[in-house]
Subunit: 289 residues, 2 copies
C-alpha cells in the first residue's frame, strides 16, 4: 500500500488537482470530520431537517435517493417543491460547509450518461460536487460524464467494490475499475470502496506515480453488523485505521427511524464524527512514526 494516505488531509489537499477533491479534503480538515451522512427519507421536510441537524458535524452529505424522493408522492410535490428543495440543499451546504454527493450510480453508455448528468429538471452536474458511476459499461461512462462535469470543476467516484453480499465488483472487476480511474485521473477522484486502491491492477514490475485516490466507504456502523437485505457493517476504526479509507458514510445509524428527534440525531452524528476522527488521528500517528 502506498503511504500517501498516512499523511494529513491538509497535506493531501495540496496535491489534489481536481477542485472537488481538493474541496472535500479541505472541508474534512476545516471541520475535523471525515463523516458523511447518507440521507434517505421519505419526505422533503425530514430530508432537510436531518441535514440541518447533522450539517455542523459532517464533511459531506450523500443524497442517495434525492431523485426518487423528489417525485415520491404526486405531481403537486414536484411543482411546489423541487426547485426549492435543491435551493434549500445548496443553502444548507453553504451554511454548514459540506460537500454534496449525489449517489446516482450512473451505469450506461457515454452518450446516455452525459445527458442524464447534464439535463432534466435536476441538472445534477449543476449542484452536486461529486457523483458516482459503475464501471461495467467500460470507459465511455467516464468520458461521457467527464465531458459535462470536468468544465464545471466536478469530480467522479467509481464503484470499484460494493459492500453487499455476492457483489460482482471484486477481483478482476475491481482491478479494471482502478485502471480506468488511473486513465482519467483529472476527473475520477476516488472510489466508493472498503479499502485503499493504490496500486491495484498494476503488474509486479510496473512503477506508478504516487497516486492518492480518495476512498469513501459505506456500510459503516457502531452498533450493528448487518441487516436482512445483505448489507454488512464495519466500524469507523476498521474502515479508517485498518483499511485506510478516507470518509465514513453512515445512514440510519445516525438518524434512526424518527427524523423529528433532531437532538439525538445530532448526538449520534457527533459520536460517529469523533470515532472517525480518532481513527484518522491514530492513522496519521503511524504515518509520522
Amino acid at each position: 500500500m502506498s503511504s500517501l494516505h498516512l499523511q494529513t488531509y491538509t497535506q493531501r489537499a495540496l496535491r489534489q488537482k481536481n477542485p472537488a477533491a481538493k474541496l472535500l479534503l479541505e472541508t474534512i480538515d476545516r471541520k475535523q470530520s471525515n463523516l458523511a451522512v447518507s440521507v434517505d427519507v421519505a419526505s422533503p421536510k425530514d430530508f432537510l431537517a436531518i441535514i440541518d441537524a447533522v450539517g455542523p458535524f459532517v464533511c459531506l452529505i450523500k443524497a442517495t435517493l434525492l431523485l426518487r424522493r423528489l417525485f415520491s408522492t404526486h405531481i403537486d410535490i414536484i411543482e411546489d417543491f423541487t426547485p426549492a428543495l435543491l435551493e434549500d440543499l445548496q443553502a444548507l451546504s453553504t451554511k454548514h460547509d459540506f460537500v454534496i454527493f449525489e449517489d446516482r450510480k450512473f451505469a450506461d453508455i457515454g452518450n446516455t450518461v452525459a445527458l442524464q448528468y447534464s439535463s432534466g429538471v435536476h441538472k445534477i452536474a449543476s449542484w452536486a460536487h461529486l457523483t458516482n458511476a459503475h464501471c461495467v459499461p467500460g470507459p465511455s461512462v467516464i468520458t461521457g460524464l467527464s465531458s459535462v462535469g470536468l468544465p464545471l470543476g466536478r469530480g467522479l467516484l467509481l464503484l470499484a467494490e460494493m459492500s453487499t453480499k455476492g457483489s460482482l465488483a471484486s477481483g478482476s472487476y475491481t482491478e479494471a475499475a482502478v485502471q480506468m480511474a488511473r486513465e482519467h485521473r483529472d476527473f475520477v477522484v476516488g472510489f466508493i470502496a472498503q479499502r485503499r486502491m493504490d496500486g491495484v491492477g498494476t503488474g509486479p514490475n510496473e512503477t506508478l506515480e504516487e497516486e492518492d485516490f480518495l476512498i469513501l466507504t459505506p456500510g459503516v456502523g457502531l452498533d450493528v453488523k448487518g441487516d436482512a437485505m445483505g448489507q454488512q457493517y464495519r466500524t469507523p476504526r476498521e474502515v479508517v485505521l485498518e483499511s485506510g479509507c478516507d470518509v465514513i458514510i453512515v445512514g440510519r445509524g445516525i438518524y434512526g427511524q424518527d427524523p423529528s428527534l433532531v437532538d439525538s440525531i445530532a448526538a449520534q452524528a457527533i459520536r460517529y464524527k469523533e470515532a472517525g476522527w480518532a481513527a484518522y488521528l491514530a492513522r496519521t500517528q503511524i504515518g509520522s512514526l
Copy 2:
C-alpha cells in the same frame, strides 16, 4: 449450446412460466417480428410519433430514456405531459400489440431498487412489462425488484454483457450473472447480451435442467459497424442466426435524425423486421433438420 432456441417462438412460449416472457414470445410469433425499437428522442411528440410509425412492425418498444426525457425541459412539461405520456404509451402498446421494456438499468442494493421500481410518479412496475438490472450489486438487486415485480407478472432482464468497448461485463462477471439468473428463474426471464447464455457458468460435470433464457440484443445495424462513442454494431443475421439471440434492438438505424419522416421510418422498421425474421427462419430450419 442447448438447442431449445432452435425451436419456434411458439413452442418456446408454451414452456415459459413467467407471464412477461410468455407475452413477449407470443407477440413475436403473432406479429412475425423479433424487432424491438429503442426510442431515444428529445420530445414527447416525436417519441409517440416514432412509436406509432414502427408499432405495427415490432414485438417490443424499449423506452431507453423515458425517465430522463419526461423531465427534459422544464416543469410545465412534467405537469402537462407526464401522466398523459405514460397513458399514450400504454394505448399504443394495446393498439399495436407490443411489449414495453423500460431500460432502467437498476444498479443498487435491494431496498433501494425496490423503491425505485415501485415508487415515484413513474411507478415503472405498473406499466413496463420488462425492465433490466446490472448484476454488480449482487443478488439483492434481483430479490428487491422481484418483491415488487413478480406479483404484478413482470419480468427482469439482466445485463450479463454490454456491447461497449472495454465493458467489464465479461468472463467471470458474465458467468456470475447467469448463475444469479438461474437462482431467480421465476422473475429473471433472460439477458441483454450478444449471445446465448445457456449453460454459461456451470461446471463440466454439472447437469442443468434445460433452460431457455430470452436474449435481447442491442447494437444491431444493417448499415454501420460502429460509432465514435464506442458502440459496436452487428447485423440481424449475425445476431439471430450465428449467435442465437431472440430479439434485435435497433435505435437510430430505424428512425434516423428526423422523426417527422414517418413513412421512411416505417420502411426502415419493415426492412429490419424482415431481416430479423429471415435470420430466425434460417435458424429454425437448422433446428428441424
